[in-house]
C-alpha cells in the first residue's frame, strides 16, 4: 500500500530549521496535511488529541526525547500502530539497535536527502 498523500503527519523536532526542512521535503513529495511538535511530550499530547497516520521524529530533544516518545507510543493501545520514522544525528550502531528494539519503523541519519526520505516512506508504506 503506497503512502496516502492525504494522511496526517506529525513532525517532532526541537529545532525549527529541521521541522521546516522535513515539512518542505514532505510537501515536495506531495503530502500536505502536516503538523509540528517541539518535543516528545508535546508530540505525545498531539497524538493523543488528534488522529495522526505517521510520525517523523528527532532523537535528542529537551523535556522528552524521541526514543522515550517512541516507547510511549508503542505502549499506548490507541497509538501503537502509528508508523514512526526517526530522523536523527545519533548515528551510532547502539542507537539504531535501541530504536529498533523500541519499535521504530525506519531510521534516517542527518544530513539526509529527499530521495532518502522517499525511499524510507516507500519501505514503511509498501
Amino acid at each position: 500500500m503506497p503512502a496516502d498523500l492525504s494522511m496526517k503527519i506529525l513532525i517532532v523536532d526541537d529545532m525549527v530549521t529541521m521541522r521546516r526542512i522535513v515539512t518542505n521535503v514532505l510537501k515536495q513529495l506531495g503530502f500536505s496535511n502536516i503538523d509540528e511538535a517541539e518535543n516528545g511530550q508535546d508530540g505525545l499530547q498531539k497524538l493523543k488529541a488528534g488522529k495522526y497516520d505517521f510520525v517523523v521524529s528527532d532523537w535528542n530533544m529537551p523535556v522528552m526525547t524521541g526514543i522515550d516518545m517512541l516507547r510511549a507510543i508503542r505502549a499506548d493501545e490507541q497509538l501503537k500502530a502509528i508508523p514512526v520514522l526517526m530522523v536523527t544525528a545519533e548515528a551510532q550502531q547502539k542507537n539504531l539497535v535501541e530504536a529498533v528494539q523500541a519499535g521504530v519503523s525506519n531510521y534516517i541519519v542527518k544530513p539526509f536527502t529527499a530521495e532518502t526520505m522517499q525511499e524510507k516512506l516507500a519501505k514503511i508504506f509498501k
Binding site: 530549521t17 521535503v25 544525528a89 542527518k110 529527499a114
Partner: protein, 195 residues
C-alpha cells in the same frame, strides 16, 4: 618498632611537603583560575549567539528557497497549460520546446529541495555548540569550586581582559555593538544625504 616509627615519620614528612608544594602551585595559578572562570560565561554566551545567528541565517535562506519553490510551481502550471493549448493547435515543435523548459524547471526544483536539505547543517552545528556550552558550563563550575575550596582571591575586573583569550573575548564583545544592521546604516547615510 622504633625503625618502623621512624619510617612512618619520614613518609608523613614527604606527604606534608607534597601537600605544601601542591598548595603553592595552586595559589600560583589562582589568578589564572579566577580569570578563566570569569571569562567562560562570556565564551559560552558567544557560542549561544553563534547558534542564534546560524539559525537566523538558515531561516532566511529557507524563506527565499521556499519562495522560489512556490514560483517554480506556478511557472510549471502555466507552462503545462500553454503546452496543452499548443498541442491542440498542432504546434508540436513549440510544445516540445516548452516541454524541455518544463523538464528543466523540474530539475531546478530538485536542486531547490537539495538546498533545503543541505541547510540541515545548522541543526548539526547547533547540537555540537550545545554540547560545547554544556562542557564549558561544567568546566566553569569545577573552576569555581577550586576558587571556593582554595579561597583564591579575586584579582578584580582587570583579569577578565588580561591575556590573549581576554583580548579576543573583548574584541568579540565589542563586535556585538559595532556590527550594525544594513538598514540602520542606510538610514544614517540617508540623513547625511546619501541616496
Amino acid at each position: 618498632m622504633k625503625k618502623r616509627g621512624h619510617k612512618l615519620y619520614e613518609e608523613l614528612g614527604d606527604l606534608a611537603r607534597f601537600v605544601e608544594n601542591a598548595m603553592k602551585t595552586i595559589s600560583n595559578v589562582g589568578p589564572q583560575i579566577v580569570s578563566s572562570s570569569q571569562q567562560l560565561p562570556t565564551a559560552s554566551s558567544h557560542l549561544s549567539d553563534l547558534n542564534k545567528m546560524t539559525e537566523e541565517g538558515t531561516l532566511e535562506v529557507m524563506r527565499l528557497t521556499e519562495l522560489l519553490q512556490d514560483e517554480h510551481g506556478h511557472i510549471g502550471k502555466e507552462l503545462r497549460a500553454v503546452i496543452e493549448v499548443l498541442q491542440t493547435m498542432d504546434c508540436a515543435k513549440l510544445a516540445e520546446r516548452l516541454e524541455n523548459i518544463n523538464a528543466l524547471l523540474g530539475q531546478e526544483g530538485k536542486h531547490l529541495t537539495e538546498i533545503m536539505t543541505a541547510l540541515s547543517f545548522q541543526d548539526l552545528v547547533a547540537q555540537r555548540v550545545k554540547k560545547l556550552v554544556s562542557i564549558i558550563d561544567e568546566v566553569q563550575q569545577r573552576l569555581m569550586e577550586l576558587v571556593v575550596v582554595f579561597g583564591l582571591q579575586q584579582s578584580g575586573d582587570k583579569a577578565v581582559t588580561d591575556g590573549t583569550a581576554g583580548h579576543l573575548l573583548k574584541q568579540l564583545e565589542e563586535s556585538k555593538t559595532t556590527a550594525m544592521k544594513q538598514k540602520v546604516a542606510d538610514d544614517i547615510l540617508a540623513q547625511f544625504g546619501f541616496k
